[in-house]
Symmetry: C2
Subunit: 173 residues, 2 copies
DNA sequence: GCGCATTACTTGGCCGACCAAGGTAAAGTT
DNA sequence: AACTTTACCTTGGTCGGCCAAGTAATGCGC
């Protein structure tokens, strides 16, 4: 055995935001689990989203892909470079717009599609084991709300209310 | 305006696992939001967990810290190197065990504590805006279940049932 | 037609995070 | 006492992911 995620027990310091902590941790474990399943397929966690979109959208402009997965453009660029090098993806310049690039999944990646979907279903089931249909829907609904709360670009008003003096601090000998 | 996370609308391809998708996306947005708040404090997302533990646990062995945050040892090592260089953390060899290292937050980092807690509270509130107390508890409970499902080290039986032939695939001209 | 903003992507840099492999010191065995 | 295992940490490499800045082509106003 190696690192053993180990499920760091009830987080002593859930002090500030218990839900925030829970989100981070659950997501990390989820990503690791996804990574394990994907690894055997030759994909790295994160790439599934790109491939999935390409598989069921066909050739698309890179900009559209970026919008679809919601990642930073630079992230997608690098990911595509690696996916291309791995043979999962092909890119060619858009004849209609010379600054744009068209991206599509290669035929070779086709076989992966089924496997990735299978893995993804398995991950879903593992993740939600022991939850009934109602709970799953509720979780989905709540996560949707969270997503909605977090993404609105309008987050200008930072509301800096930093006033409280610093309390006693241990450490520092 | 720059990238604008943009909240990529109802994910066309939520096909396989809707909840898994929701977790990934919500977590990513959450992390970005955390990053924005933390950035002004001179911390990078992820480091908060380490600092929080150090603040309310005092000097600890690195191994204990690793167990507490549940990250890979190498991740913590590098993070500590950066935190040390930034002056947030101090490390010294454990006199009782020469292979171990003791870690503690520096006095300078003390002022940060309050601010981080404040930021973390704000993040929690932003994340959960519009959810009543019952919904928050429910979300926390469900995330806890997910965490439990995902972390059990016993994930030996991979259950490879890859049999279905690959379906039709578009792309590839 | 010319200049300027927009759009589309790339490059470089930095971090968190993983895995794999290594080195050293303590604990357990024989 | 010598050997083996285990624990603790580090190094190196690779990825996803962000930001900031840069390049190139398009479109718009004039």
């Amino acid at each position: 055995m190696k690192a053993e995620p180990a499920c760091p027990e009830p987080p002593s310091a859930a002090s500030g935001g218990p839900v925030s902590h829970a989100i981070s941790r659950a997501a990390r474990l989820h990503r690791i689990a996804a990574g394990r399943l994907l690894r055997d397929l030759g994909l790295y966690p994160g790439q599934e989203f790109v491939m999935m979109h390409l598989w069921d959208a066909g050739p698309v402009r890179q900009s559209e892909l970026i919008k679809a997965v919601g990642l930073d453009p630079s992230t997608v660029t690098k990911m595509l470079q690696r996916l291309e090098q791995a043979g999962h993806v092909r890119r060619c310049p858009d004849p209609a717009d010379r600054r744009a690039a068209l991206v599509e999944a290669t035929g070779a990646s086709c076989g992966l599609k089924t496997q990735v979907e299978q893995a993804w279903r398995q991950l879903e089931e593992t993740t939600l084991a022991g939850l009934d249909e109602h709970e799953r829907e509720e979780l989905l609904r709540l996560l949707g709300r969270v997503e909605g709360n977090l993404c609105p670009q309008a987050r200008e008003e930072h509301e800096e209310a930093a006033d409280a003096a610093d309390a006693a601090c241990v450490a520092e000998v």
